[in-house]
Symmetry: C2
Subunit: 315 residues, 2 copies
Amino acid sequence: MKTVTFEKCAELLHNADNILILMHRSPDGDAVGSGYALAHALRKAGKKVMPVCSDDIPEKYGYITDTLEVQNFEPEYIVTVDLADTQLFGDKLIQYKDKVNLCIDHHPSNTGYAEYGIVDAKAGACAQIIKKVINAMNISIDKNIANAIFTGISTDTGCFKYSNASAESYQMAAEMIECGADGFFINKLMFDTKSRQRLEIERLALNSLTYHYDGKIAVIFITKEMMKKSGASDDDTEGISGMPRQIEGVVIGITIREKDNGNFRVSMRSAGDKDVSAVCAEFGGGGHKAAAGCTVTGTAEEVKEKVILAAGAAL
Amino acid sequence: MKTVTFEKCAELLHNADNILILMHRSPDGDAVGSGYALAHALRKAGKKVMPVCSDDIPEKYGYITDTLEVQNFEPEYIVTVDLADTQLFGDKLIQYKDKVNLCIDHHPSNTGYAEYGIVDAKAGACAQIIKKVINAMNISIDKNIANAIFTGISTDTGCFKYSNASAESYQMAAEMIECGADGFFINKLMFDTKSRQRLEIERLALNSLTYHYDGKIAVIFITKEMMKKSGASDDDTEGISGMPRQIEGVVIGITIREKDNGNFRVSMRSAGDKDVSAVCAEFGGGGHKAAAGCTVTGTAEEVKEKVILAAGAAL
């Protein structure tokens, strides 16, 4: 993949038409925000363009997707946004895996599958790079673009709570609000609204909470029965793994989820400097120092005991 | 109170010395952030200055308060920050109620108790006004000032989730990070950390959750027994009243807290355009359209029934 400047990127897009913008499967706020912001901008430049995704885009992003009319055309130019790897294209888009002309991304793990690319791992959200691309194309940012970019930044930084929320993230959020983004509406919808199923699985998860090693380890245990009882989908459990680590005094937070055939999915989060990826590696898993996972097989009690013991040894 | 420009405010402060900065009782992040940011800045200008409060400042603000050495002096000039009303001075500071030289605040309800004042109700946080005062004084913003101002902005906007988070709030947050503020540390500490007692009262509150009127009303019921069992203090229950309203489909969220002598404190939150202050007024309470409260007397069951019926009538 040939790295390009923003100027070159703008030139490539100005020269293209009938553009397909690919978003990753299981699309999140940054994927949708980046894809639709770029699509809106390219429409303003007179292009035929459509953002596409292998999976349905969750309804909560309707305020972004509903503002762009569907266009049908024979694709001539393929752009990916927030897409680190062709493995994340999903079934419907995998046909384009060797045909990507331009990749705009912020994942350090980007595999460089495209002809041209801008990858900035320092950007808190891919939407921040898209904003610079739009600026380089000299396209003015309207309310629709602003809402999409704001959503990307806010969701990928966990409402400005994660370490990737940089001065640039805040500064661009300010600019997007000045361009018409409804930051209040977006943050309320993304971070202050829970489905009944989500609240129910949270309640059951909290009821399962146990403390170990003088409160340095906290464990949440989610059974298949609990998932069924709550009616929660996998989407509803997003972020639950972060709950035990939030507790004051907890050094390692563990979430164990019962899967099929005696398998249990374990998520570990470290609140301090303990390396949970090393703990998970003992069970054949991995991840980052502060967030890792593994799959452990056995009875519920066996798995819980093994995992707590391994985490305890890492304290 | 005579309204002054930022220039005049800067002049007043440049001409003063032995300055006492009063913060309101039950100090929050904006009170502490505003008070300490201004104190740090005035120290840089060579002044003797100390922020003071009737109540102890919560330990979690230690990263702000610990950076300022305690100074003792005979106060000559009294400044208040984020302080709408002399009723909020508290016991230790009430002696200054008729002696305030300068008031810097963002509450529209400010009673104008000082000689001079800057009150800007459009500022999301008082810390945003303090920042402009420091700029007007030509004092450069260092890490300590930046951390204090960032804290004020972030806490008073609920980590940028409330409607008062304006473009200016985000823009100043960006600037503070550039001046050395550790936004990640601050937001994690303020919004991503819960005490065990807090989590326990949350768990018990969730277990008490009931839905009414087709899920349009959700009610949480917190008994004295639950408070005792969880070990939670009133501080730990901060924000719990917001939980029922977060649920998808809920129009009015109600939290009922058992108090002494058959009294129950009711908090109502509206997710849409229903006016809960009118509902609370039926019980002799009041508040805002979207957030109101009242006290109702009776047995737990009676109170619950009365309150739900009244809220249901407002749907």
